[in-house]
């Protein structure tokens, strides 16, 4: 039996190696997308079977006899011992957001190879490890949050940096998410109508759930989904109607204002009326569509049109400026490693885990699934003809505002495309134009529609699939916006409550309205800045988001390394120290470039100087200076945390300071071993 298992794993490893060789070594000829999928699945299988097992046994010492907080503190509300598959599904639904869909699409400007390698290697050695260890450490500390663990393990500086990082990343994340939606919906009456309709649909669902069928969430979500499908269908009629269509044909500034107002309403209105039903609807669509995309890719096994790597690895890319290193590694965060996940791993999930060994499947395993979503997004972007991909993702400020001019510029880069071809494509998906639709979402939607329409319905339903994909992404993103704004409001109220107690009361309307407005104004400012940016906004905001997200991952890995060293397992600290070192190098290098690079397309200060020298808008100059300051503050905060952590490590290693554990004392479990 042992021999057969050994042979099986050798076979998986060899098959994976063959797929990797095909993906990495083919030049000048197109390869099938299935090779990417096979390389990914084999890497995940080997990574899970061997590396996560090593981490579980040696680094963490998982103990099935130890009672988890869900058992010891069971209250039927927050702490509930739950089946591992249920917790896995719950955790995956919380970590899977728009990030793994958008980041890989943007990074596809370097070709399919760099992004794929980073997604696979980053996930197995970085992202999965981070999610897994933070989950376990939280389980062993009664489900404490990352900021609480940082404060306990690294001191007040650690806690303060973690708290400030969370607020910063939240604001930048919400701004960049909103910008992706704005870029996806501008001048798109069909898409705007569909997304606008999700608001009354959510209201209806809220009332239905509360008044007619209390608690029947799945039934209500299914009904909401049917209504959304009808809205997609009706959107076609709206887009063709000259009078009605005009109401839904908005430019970027109009859409930005609408989204800012929406964010405020979602934060201030009762949860049951808008936020909760939208959340359910989004989850329903999300899980279904991800599964559908996986099936579509396997069934259709499309050919990748994008080369393995493009000339833009030199930093001159039109989608965003900057060289392959370090920018590919901050552009793709969620599919490889994302600091945001550590907040989920130390949030609800640790309070549901029944047994310690299950954290391996939940923490490590769910992140592998998230990584697979990123691989699927890479496939969706790379099945497009490169000329089409660059026409969609290049801002007008780089390629040109007129279709003919943009097509000529993109063709001159070595990626042939014609204005006529793009016009036909736009017509086939029901859009006025697909030029200058930056942000990643439209390119992903076209790629997804291309995959689906090849098998399900043909070209005749390409427009429906495109708008379904667009709706899926926008719904996803707006749910992040809803929840993020509200959570940001609670965090702000919590902090302000220390200044004046009534401000901390979440139910007190003046405080709720004021703090909602403050959070919305903060991300709304960055959104507005992105909308007015001549380079399209994504060029400056997405790297800022990537840097802040990866710096939060550095905070999480600092906490994990500190706990590992204090637990006298220093010889295994490299497991978290290596990804930490990599992230520090990547993010600090990227930050340096974003602040000081003399190329105005990369460096914030250089762009500010260029705008000022040309006598341009003073606000644009200020915005670039502000971005530089925000980046610098993030770097300084993480440097402080690194210094403080290093002091803790040295003290523990030299024996100058007794290692004090903050783990909850061992209590034997009384739960019976669960089968399956």
């Amino acid at each position: 039996m042992r021999g057969i298992r050994l042979l099986l794993w050798v076979g998986i490893a060899l098959f994976g190696a063959l797929a990797f060789a095909t993906v990495a070594l083919h030049r000048g000829e197109q390869i099938n997308a299935l090779w990417l999928v096979i390389a990914a699945l084999c890497t995940y299988a080997v990574g899970y079977r061997f590396y996560s097992k090593f981490v579980a046994a040696k680094v963490l010492g998982l103990d099935s006899r130890r009672a988890t907080p869900s058992e010891r503190l069971e209250d039927g509300r927050d702490f509930v011992p739950t089946n591992k598959w249920v917790v896995f599904g719950h955790h995956f639904a919380a970590i899977a957001g728009p990030g793994p869909l958008v980041g890989p699409v943007l990074a596809a400007q370097f070709g399919y190879l760099p992004g794929t390698l980073w997604i696979l290697i980053g996930a197995v050695f970085g992202g999965c490890v981070q999610d897994f260890v933070i989950l376990l450490f939280s389980v062993r500390r009664d489900g404490k949050s990352l900021t609480e663990m940082a404060k306990q393990e690294i001191g007040r500086v650690g806690g303060l940096v973690a708290y400030a990082s969370v607020i910063a990343i939240l604001i930048i994340l919400l701004a960049v998410c909103a910008l992706v939606v704005v870029n996806a919906l501008k001048q798109s009456p069909w898409g705007t109508f569909t997304i606008a309709m999700t608001i009354p649909i959510a209201f209806l669902m809220g009332v239905y759930l509360r008044q007619l069928r209390p608690g029947r969430v799945m039934e209500t979500s299914a009904l909401g989904f049917v209504l959304v499908l009808l809205a997609i269908w009706g959107g076609q009629w709206v887009s063709l109607h000259p009078a009605v269509g005009a109401y839904f044909t908005l430019g970027a500034p109009g859409l930005a204002i609408a989204i800012i107002l929406y964010g405020f309403a979602a934060s201030a209105l009762p949860v049951w009326l808008l936020l909760a039903p939208r959340d359910y609807l989004s989850t329903f669509v999300k899980l279904g569509t991800i599964a559908l995309l996986a099936v579509g890719i396997v069934l259709m096994h499309p050919t990748l049109r994008m080369p393995a790597y493009t000339r833009f690895i030199d930093g001159t890319g039109p989608v965003f400026a900057g060289k392959l290193f370090p920018f590919a590694f901050i552009t793709i965060a969620c599919g490889a490693i994302s600091g945001f996940h550590s907040l989920i791993s130390s949030g609800t999930t640790p309070k549901l885990v029944r047994r310690e060994p299950e954290t391996r499947m939940i923490g490590y395993g769910a992140m592998l699934c998230e990584s697979m979503v990123a691989i699927m997004a890479t496939v969706a972007a790379c099945v497009l003809e490169p000329g089409t991909y660059f026409a969609i993702n290049s801002p007008a400020g780089i390629a040109g505002a007129l279709p003919e001019k943009a097509a000529a510029a993109i063709s001159s880069w070595g990626f042939p495309v014609t204005a006529e071809g793009m016009h036909r494509l736009a017509e086939s998906v029901g859009e006025m134009t697909l030029f200058n639709r930056t942000g990643g979402a439209p390119a992903f939607a076209v790629g997804m529609a291309h995959i689906f329409s090849s098998s399900l319905g043909g070209q005749a339903v390409m427009a429906l699939w495109y708008h379904f994909a667009l709706m899926f992404e926008a719904l996803f993103i707006l749910t992040v916006l809803d929840a993020g704004t509200r959570v940001g409001r609670f965090m702000l109220q919590d902090a302000l409550g220390h200044v004046w107690r009534p401000l901390g009361r979440t139910g007190w309307y003046p405080s709720a309205l004021a703090t909602s407005a403050l959070i919305v104004l903060a991300w709304g400012y960055f959104l507005w800045q992105g909308v007015r940016d001549p380079l399209g906004g994504i060029n400056s905001l997405w790297p800022l988001f990537g840097i802040s997200n990866q710096l939060l991952a550095a905070v999480a890995l600092c906490v994990a390394t500190t706990i590992t060293i204090k637990a006298r397992r220093a010889r295994y600290a490299l497991v978290t120290l290596v990804p930490l070192a990599w992230l520090v190098v990547v993010t600090f290098t990227a930050s340096w470039h974003k602040i000081f690079d003399p190329d105005p397309r990369i460096g914030f200060l250089a762009q500010a100087r260029q705008i000022a020298a040309a006598g341009g808008n003073a606000r644009l100059t200020f915005n670039n200076q502000l971005d530089a300051v925000v980046t610098a503050i993030l770097v300084v905060m993480v440097t402080l945390l690194l210094v403080e952590s290093a002091r803790q490590w040295m003290a523990a290693l030299s024996g100058r300071k007794l290692s004090s554990t903050t783990e909850t004392p061992f209590v034997a479990t009384r739960l019976v071993e669960e089968q399956g």
Binding site: D75, G76, R77, V80, T82, N83, W85, V86, V87, F88, G89, H90, A93, A94, I95, A96, G97, P98, G99, L173, C177, L209, R210, Q211, P214, G215, R216, V217, M218, S221, V271, W272, L275, A276, D279, Y280, T283, F284, L287, A333, C334, S338, F340, H341, L343, I344, G347, T348, T479, V480, A483, G484, R486, V487, F490, F545, N549, G676
Partner: protein, 50 residues
């Protein structure tokens, strides 16, 4: 069959139907508008990842 049961349990947890059921048991309330309104009032907004 077991797989379907687990899938159903996962969906019930994700869509908070199980949480509502636990709430009713904990508070000794029956299913209905009143108890659901109370449950929603206590519902916490979880972070959604990017």
């Amino acid at each position: 069959m077991k797989g379907l049961r687990i899938l159903h349990a996962i969906l019930r947890e994700i869509f908070e139907e199980s949480a509502y059921e636990r709430f009713c048991v904990r508070e000794g309330l029956g299913r209905g508008r009143g108890s659901y309104a109370l449950f929603l009032r206590q519902r916490r907004v979880g972070l959604k990842c990017c």
